[in-house]
Symmetry: C4
Subunit: 278 residues, 4 copies
């Protein structure tokens, strides 16, 4: 199992660190590279290799770059929910989170998109997020990390498939460098990253794991990194037993799998006696 | 000499940074991967390569994941003491440390486990820790770094073997990435890590050192990293002169070695005149 | 398209962090290596490989190292504007930025230099910077990151070509280490960096991108790094289809290209309702 | 030209961050590895490869580990001045720096050692340090970074040779990891480090530079790193044209070289008008 996902964050994660960062022309243009140059280039590459993908697009990014959304729509790839503002749900009240969730639904809706899945901004959902995902009629979430295969979460609003991502299958930790706000500090060679991901997908097929790769067009849209990603995809496709699918397909398969039993997501409770520091 | 050790920390090091982090579903599930997926996978790999290991399990983790403890017990590997809460002893009073130590003894005791050794959370013992280890009847500690061969510490409660670990033989520095709390910032390629550790164990056998490897199931339980560790073990085992043993065996050998003379652990005293800043 | 650029910062970025750092003989001599040793060595290497380059020199650096400026002038390479003090324009008022811009014009002017282009210190321009560049009669800027090919910015004072740089084509992130002020934390092997840049320029020629490399003589002037850069240049030159040119030539070509349509640089506006944190 | 230098810091740089760190048994034993295990191992390796070296030993370290000092003395290698407490001179008053300098002279003097050279703690001298070096009768300093060949500094107390070190030729940035105090964050593979240094010394001989390598026994005394250093030395020695010498020999040659003209070390002065932030 393998999925190629692209989080088209654009300016949103930078603004989530403080709207003052809109004053930085460098930071803003650095992020704008994603929808302006990265997405068209990634779409072409996906066409070259003939593989489907899922694009998680925050509402504010869809609103600022409607042409980019149309390009993705025309390409036939899946578009999914990635919050409206890219603020982290873990730091919002439930009301704030619901409002942000709803704004994103409406922003995508204006393009005729009914998202089937959701990924929390910065992979920082609240414990209530899966319930919200079900409440809004979506099938899956992709934010939690306690497995590397799909599983089912039972919520008061219905069952949701969880498609677990992981920091090690994300281009951000490898490539992001932005000094202010400090959103990344290391620039790794794409050669080393491609080698790491090829080894990972090889190990994952041995273990029956889900290779859930997360890339960001403002990062992987750069030429050398795009070619490194192309190499990862082509290498895995050549093995013959790795199949890249959209997240929606993965969710459908998980929801239809009789071997998967839905279970509630239970928050961790902590004793103040054992952990006195808040 | 070589020992494979696994610190099954799960949520404990994150909660030790502040119990508010229990509100982060990402951080909690990120850590839960260890006992849920990492440990069974590691146990299978150890069975494949036919090598023994030592699992250091904090008390709170044993209580939250009893099935995981049973799996390790059934596999025949050693289970040892790794504090109750994973708070750093260096920042506790002696009474707090003793209480935490005792809670961990009781938590393991409920599984019928009488630990023979101890490793301080975050390798941050107090100067009194070896004495506490002896007071509770354990044979060894594995937290201090002034040697790379076993040595003996004389305490007021008896002699304790010290089995020195080191940051360079730990998967945390290579793989851990968690933005909040900020418990790691780099994700290294497992290929490079395996190469580094193979070179290290090769150098260590030339120097008669103890290869004391520390891995964490929430990190090394990931597929590519597990395969990298498998390669390290298989490569060293193929040389023929490297023997992997449990920490308890190493401690027994050290305590029985007439060449090793117990000496007290003497705290460093510092002149306020030379170092005015506290 | 490819350009070799050298930002001869010397002490200026350190002093921009606070003039107290002038008290650090290490930090000051660390930076002085650039104009004293790095620049002559780089000029010799460029002569060896027979390629043109552009040197961005802050005004205060030109004033402190006049002999270095003369050496660059004699070599025939382009000299361009890099602010006077290397303070970040994003944190200055427009008046302060204009004054700093003007001081740099005068500092270079005393050498008979009329710069044709500008690069913002730390790639941190204000949204008004391109307008200022036009106001002072320059043709191009090299600070924004929303493309990897030249484009045209329409300002109230005329049209300016933008020649986009990027953090991944900068030696700072790979080599800079300075603990106080903390201006860099990693020292990468030049072998790995050369490999990364060779792969990048190769990918960029496939994508028709501009390989805009930024090096700093206080970093790349070191022997091993200089030889790594030489290897990058020689490798690309051997391919036959990569042409290294000055930034001025790139700007002239962009300004004369009928396919490029000037557009204003529009600042991002942010809703306080969506992003309450300033 | 090449010099192998070892800074036997032991606990001193940790205590310089605050004497409270003496409460950390991990940090203290981590540092004690240097004099206890690292130095004897390094001495044996130097004997194996038949090369001379210079050991910079802080006064407090000499006092705490007299046997280690005797071992270095017996081996015939040079012992030089590395401050008494490892506090950074840049943050001391001149009186405090002189007192610390004097305490170190006396500490070494009790072993019969008259140091011929000095290296500032953390390479953080004051602008007065070279003058102090001359005042105490030493011939050289090794702390400044504006060249990579020896040069001469004229002071009011006489002429001093400067033997420039650099962060890129230091094992600290590659290997040091200590979370509290935070004295290092990365653990690089010794294979990559050896490759980097071999390339560096190769480039340096082409440029006539001084390969001034700085290693720390608490870091490079570890087995895999020691073997990596051995490989660097053996590789360079095999070339035939690289000669390893003590710092004292380098200083003598520089002081006797008619081509080198002593010049004063001139502090940088900064205009408050240009750099308003202190």
């Amino acid at each position: 199992m393998a999925a190629l996902t692209f989080d088209v964050d654009a300016e949103s994660p930078v603004l989530a660190e403080g709207r003052r960062h809109a004053e930085s022309a460098m930071a803003m243009t650095h992020q704008a590279f994603g929808p302006k140059v990265g997405v068209p280039r990634i779409l072409q590459m996906l066409k070259d290799v003939g593989q489907p993908a899922t694009f998680f697009i925050p509402g504010v990014t869809a609103e600022r770059y409607p042409q980019m959304v149309e390009q993705v729509l025309e390409s036939g790839h899946e578009i999914a929910h990635h919050s409206h503002t890219h603020r982290q749900a873990v730091h919002l009240t439930l009301d704030e989170e619901r409002r942000d969730f709803d704004l994103a639904m409406k922003a995508l809706g204006r393009f005729g998109i009914t998202p089937k899945g959701h990924r929390a901004a910065m992979w920082q959902p609240s414990w209530q997020t899966p319930s919200l995902v079900a409440e809004f009629g979506l099938k899956y979430d992709s934010s939690l990390m306690d497995s590397d295969t799909p599983y089912l979460i039972e919520t008061e609003s219905g069952t949701v498939a969880e498609l677990p991502p992981h920091w090690s299958l994300d281009d951000w930790e490898q490539y992001a460098f932005l000094p202010e706000p400090r959103l990344g500090e290391i620039i790794q060679s794409p050669t080393i990253v491609a080698d790491m991901w090829i080894n990972e997908i090889d190990a994952m097929r041995r273990h029956g794991s889900l290779f859930m790769l997360t890339c960001h067009p403002f990062l992987t849209g750069r030429a050398g990194r795009l070619e490194a990603l192309r190499k990862v995809i082509e290498t895995a496709a050549d093995w013959g037993d790795v199949r890249f699918t959209t997240c929606e397909s993965l969710a459908d398969a998980a929801l239809a799998d009789p071997a998967l039993v839905p279970a509630p997501l239970v928050p961790i409770t902590v004793s103040e006696d054992l952990y006195p520091d808040y």
